[in-house]
C-alpha cells in the first residue's frame, strides 16, 4: 500500500529534476508505540498539500519531523538539498545532525494551532525577532521585512499591538508573517484554523491561498475539508502512522479508493 502511495505522489509532480521535499521510509516511535510507519513521499516546489485523517494518526508528528521539532528514528528527509538521515534505530544524534536540523529550520516555516506569538512583544517585534537574531539582519532591514510581510497578511495597521490585543485570526496571520519573514522554502501548518472563531477562519485561509498563487510550497494538516478540497494540489489521507491514500483533491472526495478513507470522509460529508 505504502509503496503504491509514494509511487502515486512521485507521479503527480512530473517536471522538476530534483523535488523540493523528499521523504524516504520515515519511522518514528513514541514510547515504543509506532507513530510513523515507514512513510515515503515526494513534494514538488509550489505544491499545496493537505494532510487529513483522524486525531492521533501521526499527522502532526510527521509535520514536526519535517522541521526537526521531532526527531525521527529511521529514514531520510531531504529538503532543498539539506539531508537528515538516520540509518538504524541507534544511529547517534550527533553535532552534525543538530547542525543540519538548525539549517533545515531556516528553510522551513512553521505555523501552530495555538499561534504562539510571543506575548511580551508587539506584532512588529514578533516578526522582527528571528531575522534580527537568527539571520543577523540590521534593525532597519528587519523592520522593512517585517512591515512588508505584515502588509502581505493585511496587518500593517496592527503592527504595534500586542498579541493579547488581537483576535485569533489576526494572531494566526501574524504568526504566518513571522514565519515568512525568514523567507523559507516551505511552510508547514499544524491545524492552523482549529483554534479560531469560525467566522474568522477564511481570512487565514485567504492568506494561504495567496501564498499558493505566489508559488510557495505548503503542507497543511487540517480538518478544514472544504479548503483542502478547493485549494490543495493533492490530499494525503493518513491513518495509524501510514499514508493510506494520496490523490488528486476531487478524486479522494468523490471516489476514495480505500475503504478507510471512505469511512473517514463520510463523517464530514
Amino acid at each position: 500500500m505504502e509503496a503504491n502511495a509514494s509511487h502515486q505522489a512521485a507521479g503527480l509532480g512530473l517536471s522538476a529534476a530534483q523535488p523540493l521535499i523528499q521523504v524516504q521510509n520515515l519511522v518514528k516511535y513514541y514510547h515504543q508505540e509506532l507513530v510513523l510507519d515507514n512513510i515515503s513521499v515526494t513534494i514538488e516546489e509550489g505544491d499545496l498539500v493537505s494532510i487529513i485523517g483522524p486525531s492521533g494518526c501521526g499527522k502532526s508528528t510527521f509535520l514536526r519531523c519535517l522541521n526537526g521539532m521531532a526527531i525521527f528514528d529511521i529514514g531520510c528527509i531531504q529538503i532543498n538539498n539539506i539531508t537528515l538521515s538516520r540509518k538504524t534505530l541507534d544511529s547517534p544524534i550527533d553535532r552534525d545532525f543538530h547542525k543540519k536540523t538548525h539549517a533545515l529550520r531556516q528553510q522551513v516555516g512553521m505555523v501552530f494551532q495555538s499561534f504562539n506569538l510571543f506575548f511580551h512583544r508587539t506584532l512588529l517585534q514578533n516578526v522582527m525577532l528571528a531575522p534580527r537574531i537568527v539571520q543577523k539582519k540590521s534593525r532597519e532591514e528587519a523592520e522593512d521585512i517585517a512591515i512588508r510581510f505584515l502588509d502581505k497578511v493585511g496587518l500593517r495597521l496592527f503592527a504595534h499591538r500586542y498579541p493579547a490585543q488581537l483576535s485569533g485570526g489576526q494572531q494566526q496571520r501574524g504568526a504566518i508573517a513571522r514565519a515568512l519573514a525568514l523567507s523559507p522554502k516551505v511552510m508547514l501548518y499544524d491545524e492552523p484554523t482549529s483554534a479560531i472563531d469560525p467566522t474568522r477562519v477564511d481570512e487565514v485561509l485567504e492568506v494561504m491561498r495567496d501564498l499558493d498563487h505566489e508559488g510557495m510550497t505548503q503542507i497543511i494538516v487540517t480538518h478544514e475539508m472544504r479548503f483542502a478540497k478547493d485549494a490543495s494540489d493533492y490530499i494525503i489521507y493518513m491513518e495509524q502512522g501510514k499514508f493510506i491514500e494520496i490523490s488528486d483533491e476531487d478524486e479522494i472526495f468523490i471516489s476514495p479508493k480505500d475503504e478507510r478513507t471512505r469511512k473517514f470522509l463520510k463523517k464530514f460529508m
Binding site: 529550520r105 504562539n116 510571543f118 506575548f119 511580551h120 525577532l129 493579547a164
Partner: protein
C-alpha cells in the same frame, strides 16, 4: 533586548558601588577594641543624655591605653557571647569588656590561642535580692531560682558551690532584674559594677553585703600578639602609677577594697562618684521627659541605612544567583539539575542564623589550610559576611520562584522560538526570560520585604542595624515599648517604597500583554 542588559549591568554597578563604599581606609594606626555596648553600663555604653557619645569606665581606660600607645581607639561592637570568637577571627585586637582572667584555665586559654594582660581592676560577684527577701547571705540561696548572664563563668562557678539551685540564663542584666522585681527570681548574680548601676534603678531590690569570689578584669589578646601584650602591660602599669585608673574608678563609684589592696593604696575614695550620680540622674530624667526618643532618631536613621544597604545588596545578589540556580535547575542536564536541587534543599534546610555565624566565625578557621587569596577572602568584613549569608539563604528561595516562573510559560512559546531557528539559549534569553520576569516580580518583592526583616539577624555578627539599635536603646533606657514603636515605624518605611515600586512595575509590564478581564 538591551533593556535586559541594562538591568543586568545596572545590578552589577549597584552592588559594586555599595560594596566599595563599605571599604574604609585607615590613616592613623588604630587600636581595635572589641566590647559589647548593649546594656553595658558602666563598662561601655552610650551616654543616655547624648546617645552619639560612648562612655563607661572601660571606655575611659581603653582610651587612656590607646593614648599611651600613640594609637587611635576604634570601638568594634560585638555580641557578648561572641566576643572571644571575634578576637580569634581578628575582628579586633584587644578584648576588654569585663574579661575575668582567673576563671580561665591556662591549658584552655593556650588551646584557644588567647593570652591575658595584668589585671586592671579587681571586683567580686554581687548577689541582688528583693528588698523583702529572707535571703541574708549567699548560702541562703540553696534551692532558689538564681538569674545570671549567659557566658558568665564566674557566676556559674559560684552557683556550683551551692548544693542545689536553679539557674536561669539572661541576655542582659535588665531582663534579669526585671524578673527579680516580678518575683520570677529569688536572686540575681552579676559582677558588682553592673549590680551597682542596673539594680540601683530598680527600687525594690537590695544588694547583699557579702562579696562573692574574686574577679580579676584583664585584657584579652591573641596569644601570638606578644608585643601588643607587653605594650598593654606597660600601659596598665603606667596608668596605675599615674593614678589615672584610680581616679576613673572613683568617679564611676567603683573604687573598692580589693582593687585598693591590689594597687597598694588606701581604700577611702578621694573624689566623689560623679559619673554614677550623673548616670542615675540621667536615666531618671531622660526617659521621663521623652528627650531620649528624639535623640535616638539619628541612630535609628543610621541603622536603617545600614539595614537598607545590607538588604539591597543581599537581594540583588540573591536575585542574580537565584536566577542562575533556577535556570540550571530547570533547563540544564539531568545531573546538574539534581546537583542544584540538592544544593537548594540544603540551603533551605539551614537556618539563616546558623549560616551567618558559620560564615563569619566558622570560615576563618579554615584560613590556614587555604591557598593565598582564599585564606584572605574567608576572613571577610561583617558587612560582606552579612550580605553573603542573606544572599545565599534567599537565592535558594528565589531559584524556586524563578523555576515556577519558567514552568508557567506555555511550552508553545519555546517551540515557536525553536521553529524560527533560534538556538535553545536564544529562545530562553529572548522569549522565556522576559516573560518570566513579569510573573515572578510580585513573589520576589514579597521576599525582599521578608529579607529586610531577616536582616535583623546580622546583628549576630557585630553589625549595629535597626533591630540591634532597638535593643541597645531599650536596654539602656529600660523601655522596650516606645523604642519598639519607633523601630517598627522604620521597618515599615523601609519596606513600603519597594512594595509601591513593584506594584508600579507590575502594572506597567503587564498592562498590554494581558487581556483585560
Amino acid at each position: 533586548m538591551y533593556r535586559l542588559k541594562t538591568i543586568f549591568f545596572g545590578w552589577i554597578a549597584c552592588i559594586s558601588l555599595v560594596v566599595s563604599a563599605q571599604a574604609t581606609k585607615a590613616t592613623k594606626e588604630v587600636l581595635r577594641w572589641g566590647a559589647d555596648g548593649q546594656g553595658g553600663a558602666p563598662h561601655i555604653f552610650f551616654d543616655p543624655k547624648k546617645p552619639e557619645k560612648l562612655t563607661g569606665f572601660e571606655y575611659e581606660i581603653a582610651k587612656a591605653i590607646a593614648e599611651f600607645m600613640g594609637k587611635e581607639l576604634q570601638y568594634c561592637p560585638n555580641d557578648w557571647e561572641m566576643l572571644v570568637a571575634g578576637l580569634q577571627r581578628k575582628q579586633y585586637d584587644i578584648l576588654m569588656n569585663a574579661v575575668v582572667r582567673n576563671v580561665w584555665r591556662k591549658k584552655k586559654a593556650a588551646q584557644m590561642g588567647i593570652a591575658f594582660s595584668k589585671p586592671y581592676y579587681i571586683t567580686f560577684i554581687q548577689a541582688t535580692v528583693a528588698k523583702n527577701s529572707p535571703i541574708q547571705q549567699f548560702s541562703d540561696c540553696n534551692g532558689k531560682k538564681i538569674g545570671i548572664l549567659k557566658a558568665s563563668k564566674a557566676e556559674q562557678n559560684a552557683i556550683r558551690r551551692l548544693s542545689d539551685a536553679q539557674t536561669i540564663l539572661y541576655d542582659d542584666e535588665i531582663k534579669a532584674y526585671a524578673d527579680l522585681n516580678n518575683h520570677r527570681l529569688d536572686c540575681v548574680l552579676t559582677e558588682h559594677p553592673e549590680a551597682l548601676y542596673y539594680a540601683s534603678v530598680e527600687k525594690d531590690v537590695r544588694l547583699l553585703k557579702e562579696p562573692i569570689s574574686r574577679l580579676e578584669f584583664s585584657i584579652m589578646v591573641r596569644a601570638e600578639d606578644q608585643v601588643l601584650l607587653a605594650q598593654l602591660n606597660a600601659a596598665i602599669d603606667h596608668l596605675k602609677q599615674q593614678g589615672t585608673l584610680r581616679s576613673i574608678y572613683e568617679r564611676w563609684g567603683l573604687w573598692n577594697e580589693q582593687t585598693a589592696t591590689y594597687f597598694n593604696t588606701s581604700q577611702t575614695p578621694q573624689t566623689r562618684a560623679t559619673q554614677l550620680e550623673q548616670y542615675l540622674a540621667d536615666i531618671e530624667s531622660e526617659t521621663s521627659t521623652g528627650n531620649i526618643y528624639l535623640k535616638s532618631l539619628p541612630f535609628f536613621t543610621k541603622a536603617a541605612w545600614l539595614t537598607l544597604r545590607i538588604s539591597f545588596c543581599a537581594m540583588l545578589l540573591a536575585m542574580s544567583a537565584g536566577f542562575l540556580l533556577g535556570v540550571l535547575r530547570t533547563y540544564s542536564f539531568r545531573w546538574i539539575q539534581c546537583l542544584v536541587a540538592t544544593l537548594i534543599e540544603i540551603i533551605r534546610g539551614t537556618p539563616l542564623m546558623i549560616l551567618l555565624l558559620f560564615i563569619f566565625y566558622g570560615l576563618p578557621k579554615c584560613a590556614p589550610y587555604l591557598p593565598e587569596p582564599f585564606s584572605q577572602w574567608v576572613c571577610m568584613s561583617p558587612f560582606l559576611a552579612g550580605v553573603l549569608g542573606l544572599a545565599i539563604n534567599y537565592s535558594a528561595y528565589e531559584a524556586e520562584i524563578y523555576r515556577a516562573g519558567f514552568l508557567s510559560i506555555p511550552i508553545g512559546q519555546i517551540e515557536a522560538a525553536r521553529a524560527l531557528g533560534m538556538t535553545h539559549l536564544q529562545a530562553l534569553w529572548y522569549v522565556i526570560f522576559p516573560q518570566t520576569i513579569r510573573t515572578v516580580l510580585p513573589p520576589i518583592t514579597n521576599d525582599f520585604i521578608m529579607l529586610i526583616q531577616d536582616s535583623s539577624l546580622v546583628s549576630m555578627i557585630t553589625l549595629v542595624e535597626l533591630s540591634r539599635t532597638y535593643q541597645l536603646f531599650s536596654a539602656e533606657n529600660f523601655d522596650y515599648f516606645s523604642f519598639g514603636l519607633i523601630v517598627v515605624l522604620f521597618y515599615l518605611l523601609l519596606g513600603l517604597p519597594f512594595t509601591r515600586l513593584s506594584r508600579y512595575l507590575e502594572k506597567k509590564l503587564t498592562a498590554k500583554t494581558q487581556r483585560e478581564v
